[in-house]
Every structure is written in C-alpha cells, then in structure tokens.
C-alpha cells in the first residue's frame, strides 16, 4: 500500500497498524503476510506528529494462539506451492514487528529521544524513504536508546540499522566511521562487544 505525497509521487509504503504501543516501543500488525521491513529498518508511525522507530524484532505466527501450524508440504514441489494449495494460510497467519521508539516529529523538527505520548492504537505505520532515513540519521543522538538492555539482540539491531542508514548517505564510509566513533564512546569498557558491532558494519 503506497502513500503519496503532495506531488503525486509514491514515497513510502504503509506496512500495517499499531496494535500495542508505549512511549518506548510499538508493535505493528502487518497488512500482508511476510511484509515486515528488515531488522534495523527505520519506520514511522502516525499521521501528524509521527514517532520514529527502529525494527528490533519480526515474527510470523498464528492468529489464534490456541492453533499452531503443522507441516503441509510433503507432496508440494516448492514452498510457494504449500501456500497455493492451502490458501487459508494467508488468512490464519500474520506477521508483526516490534519497533523501539528513537524519536518523533516535533513541529517542523525531529527530536531523537522518546516522545511525550505513545502512538495511538491503529496508527498507520510506514517504512521510511531514503531521504527520511538520511535526515533522521544525520544525528546519532538516539543510539543510547538502542543500547538499552530491554531490546533483544541489540547489537544486531544497531549494526543492521547503521548498514541501512549508511546506504542512504552520499558517503557511506564517512557515515559509518562517524557512527563507529560514537559507538566507541557509548560502549567504552565493552571492547569485545564494540568490535563485534564494528565488524558487522565494516564494508
């Protein structure tokens, strides 16, 4: 589902809606199965004073928690055939993702810390365009939020985000070197961990 800006050109894709939200994170139910953005992607939720989040967890599961999936492909030629032969699956499974909030729109500007209020339930969630990612990542003041121990696999989330953001900048190397310096400060005393993250964002 593409949303269109004032010039009539497609900008971002509407991915789904918020089904759980707090001032620190929100959970999005995707409109389409397996249509979640990759780990570490920057997403925006809400029309108006939007909140920005970085995808930190993606899951696909049964709509009904009391029903679980069973193998269905013994006689299928490929995985796609399993879905074609069982069309109900696309209605019984859903994909959701969790995003940690790293900033919000504050009038004309962007704040890179937690918003005063959580996103509303059913807020639309969009992926961010290259331009939005570049603008948001011009400052990395939000990185301490991503280092919060409440996030699972936080180092992978940070590395994924930096790789995605780096690709949006004109000089990716300069961006990543600056990001590495920021991380070195934030992760002082955690040398093995810092090295792990830096290895993952090295070109």
């Amino acid at each position: 589902m593409n949303d269109v800006n004032g010039n009539g050109t497609a900008t971002t894709t509407r991915l789904g809606e918020v089904i759980e939200g707090s001032t620190t994170e929100f959970r999005t139910h995707c409109y389409d199965l397996y249509a979640a953005p990759p780990l570490g992607s920057l997403v925006r939720c809400g029309d108006g004073d939007s909140a920005y989040g970085i995808v930190c967890d993606v899951a696909t599961q049964s709509m009904d928690p009391s029903r679980h999936a069973i193998p269905r492909g013994r006689d299928s030629e490929d995985e796609e055939d399993v879905y074609l032969s069982n069309p109900q699956l696309t209605r019984l499974l859903y994909t959701q993702f969790q995003a940690v909030i790293v900033g919000y729109e504050d009038g004309p500007g962007i704040q890179r810390y937690l918003p005063p209020f959580p996103p509303r339930i059913h807020s639309f969630v969009y992926d961010c365009s290259t331009e939005e990612v570049r603008t948001f990542s011009e400052s990395l003041d939000f990185l301490p939020i991503l280092l919060s121990p409440s996030i699972n696999a936080q180092d992978d989330v940070i590395a994924s985000f930096l790789r995605i953001a780096g690709a949006c900048h004109v000089d990716s190397n300069v961006f990543l070197v600056n990001a590495g310096k920021t991380l070195a400060t934030l992760m002082a005393g955690q040398l093995p961990r810092l090295n792990n993250v830096l290895r993952r964002i090295s070109p």
Binding site: D64, R67, R72, Y83, S85, N86, P87, Q88, L89, R91
Partner: protein, 402 residues
C-alpha cells in the same frame, strides 16, 4: 464436590470388559453384513420395501445401484472453489434478564488453482424482537412455539444454509464450485412439533434455500453437499435387516412385536451394526460407495422433491458420510465433483474437509465468548437504566459459598 473418579473408573473398567465380550459376536455379524452386501439383490429388496410400506419400523433407504460397488474419485479440476458454512449459537438463558439468542455463522471461501485465494468471515446475529423469539402459525396467530433448545438448533441449520446461498452468490460463476455444510441435510427431530413449525423451518426455510441452490446449480458448475465425520447412521445396515427378514412382508410390529430386541432374526444377522463399519471393509482409500436415497419421513413429506441421497467415502483417515440433494445425486458430473473435492479437502485437512474446519473455527462461540456475551447484555441493560437481575440459582453457582 467434584466427580468421584475412583468410583467412575471402576465402572469404566467394567464397561470395557463387557464391550470386549460383545466384540467377537459383533465381528461375526459384520462378516455376515459384508457378505450380504456382496450378494445383495436390489430388485428383490425394492419389491419387499414396496410391499412392506410403512409397516417396516426401521429407517431404510432406497438403492440406486449395486451396494457392493465402489467408485474411485474423478480427477479434480485445475481451478475450483470450495465454500463452507458452519454455525454456533447462544441459547436463550432463562437466568438472564433479557430473552434473546444469538446465531453465529462462519463462512469460508477457498479458491484453488491459478488464482488461489481465501476469505474467512463470521456473521453474528442477535434475535431479541418478540417476533424473532417464536414461530407463529400464520393461519392461527394465537398458536406459537418458542424458539429455544432443539428448535433453535434447527433454526441455526436454516441460517447456515441461507449463509451458504449468500456466499455462493458472491463466488465466481465460471469456476467449478462445491458448497459444503457440516452434518446432515435432513432436518431431524421436528416430528414432535406442530405442522406450522415444520412448515416454517423446513418448507419455507431449509427447502426454500435448497431450491435456490438448485436454480443456481442449473446455471453454473455448482454442487452442494454435507459431510458427516464419524457417522453413526445405520440406514444401509437397516436395509440388510430387511433382506435378512424371513417374512415375505416385513411387518415388524405384527411379526416380531413380541420378540425381545437382539432375539429377532434381523438382530441376529446384522443387529447393532452401523453403516461405516460395513463400508470400512470394502472401500479403498479415496473411493466412495454406491449412492442411496434417504426415505426419512421428513424428507418424503416436506422436501418438495429435493430428495436427500447419501454415500460413504474412505477419506484415508475415516469412513465419512456425504449427503447431497437429488439434483446433485442424479447428475453424474455434480456427483463426481462433490466426491472428488470432499476427498481432496480431507487430504488437505488433513483428515477432515479444511473448509469445514475453518468455517467451524469462524463460527465457534467459546465459553469465554459466552461469558462476555452475558456481561455485554447486562451492561447494555444497565446503560438503559433497565433492571438487571439473575436467578438466585445462577447467583449461587457464580458465588459458590461454603
């Protein structure tokens, strides 16, 4: 106090021992039944059935072919649809402050082939108006029958088949389609009710919907049927009773009325058997039995020519029973379509038609749903400043004082 499981378990053990004792004798009767199916003389049976008329106490079917034959499924079409409906209800609760009932119908549309697609939905409908809570005799409006209990079950059956009609109107007209309902197409258990009740539910309800389906099927590749898992019907077994009957005319009451059950000649030959036990012996995986025509009195009296036929299928997991209207049974293409797609649905299930399983999931009203329903009713009445009350019995069940 909860159930005394120790005492119950002892009785269950005794039951199991007794069942084991009966099993050997039953196995012998089953062999007799299978042999009898192999030697069945359809013409002689039909003659005896006609001669005996209503003096036969057993519900026996008419035969349309050799009962010992089995038929493999036809190949399934490349593109096809299956539409299934199921229902669930919340009955009138006399402990509640409002008289009302709810019927929830679940509908599933599955399309297979080049344009694979699915749509799953449910439609709850609350009945609380005065006119919705009773069935009235239009000729004598003072005569009315409350809709609750078994009658609500029958009303739900009517709503299910109406939902099937509605769903089929919205499916592609050029794709072979089978419409399925859960359970039997025969509206059992209405004999005890006045004629105006039967007329309203069967003639004006169920049969009217069947007629609409028949008209739709005349214009497009459409067949409808119902699927019964683990069927307990014994109509074919009853036919074997008739064949085993030593009298020229099977006047049950007159000939054997003084003989205790299990001692009659038909009991000794095939008594206690059900159809699925007989067909499990000679239906290969995927095959169906011959088609039989139900002679249930309600069908004969009220179905206005929509005879109900049935056959048994070996799904690979169980012997299931499929019921179809006469206009499906008498059209070879439609019959083959129902047979092939029921087997295919059971394969995808696995074990039970996947469309019916999902329709059930859409329709089911859980215990938690029922509690919320009561709370919603009480809250709505409270919001309208209406008195909310419950019986002391109901209150005592909730509070469980010691």
């Amino acid at each position: 106090m909860s159930l005394d499981l120790t005492s119950t378990a002892l009785q269950i053990d005794s039951m199991a021992v007794e069942l084991k004792g009966r099993n050997n004798e039953k196995f012998r009767r089953l062999q007799t039944a299978v042999d009898a199916i192999g030697d069945f003389d359809v013409d002689a049976y039909q003659d005896k059935l006609e001669q005996s008329g209503s003096s036969v106490l057993w519900n026996v079917p008419s035969f349309t072919g050799d009962p010992s034959k089995s038929y493999p499924p036809a190949p399934i079409p490349e593109d096809f649809c299956v539409v299934a409906v199921d229902g669930s209800h919340i009955d009138i609760d006399r402990h509640l402050p409002a008289r009302c009932y709810l019927i929830n119908t679940g509908t599933v549309y599955l399309r297979y082939g080049s344009q694979s697609d699915a749509d799953l939905s449910s439609q709850p409908r609350l009945y609380a108006e005065e006119d919705e809570l009773v069935i009235r005799d239009h000729n004598a409006p003072y005569r009315q029958q409350n809709i609750d209990g078994a009658l609500l079950g029958a009303k739900r059956g009517v709503e299910e088949i109406k939902a099937l009609v509605h769903a089929l109107h919205n499916t592609p007209k050029d794709v072979p389609t089978v419409g399925l309902v859960d359970g039997t197409l025969v509206m059992f258990g209405l004999q005890q009710y006045p004629d105006f009740v039967v007329r309203e539910l069967v003639d004006n309800g169920f049969v009217s919907a069947l007629e609409e389906l028949r008209q739709m099927a005349a214009e497009r590749p459409l067949a409808v049927g119902s699927y019964i898992s683990l069927p307990r019907a014994g109509e074919v077994a009853n036919a074997l009773r008739l064949q085993a009957c030593p009298f020229d005319v099977a006047a049950c009451e007159q000939n054997c009325g003084q003989i205790p059950a299990r001692e009659r000649a038909c009991d000794k030959a095939v008594g206690g058997l059900i159809d699925r036990e007989i067909f499990s012996d000679f239906l290969d995986k995927g095959h169906r039995s011959s088609v039989f025509k139900s002679n249930h009195p309600t069908v004969s009296r009220n179905y206005q020519g929509h005879g109900i036929h049935f056959f048994y299928v070996n799904t690979g997991e169980e012997i299931g029973r499929v019921e179809v209207p006469s206009w499906v049974a008498e059209n070879e293409g439609s019959l083959e379509l129902v047979h092939a797609l029921v087997i295919d649905q059971c394969r995808r299930g696995p074990g039970y038609p996947v469309a019916l399983m999902e329709a059930h999931e859409q329709a089911v009203v859980t215990g938690v749903d029922r509690r919320y329903f009561v709370e919603l009713v009480e809250q709505a009445l409270y919001d309208q400043r209406l008195p909310t009350y419950s019986s002391e019995k109901n209150i005592s069940k909730r509070q469980k004082w010691i």
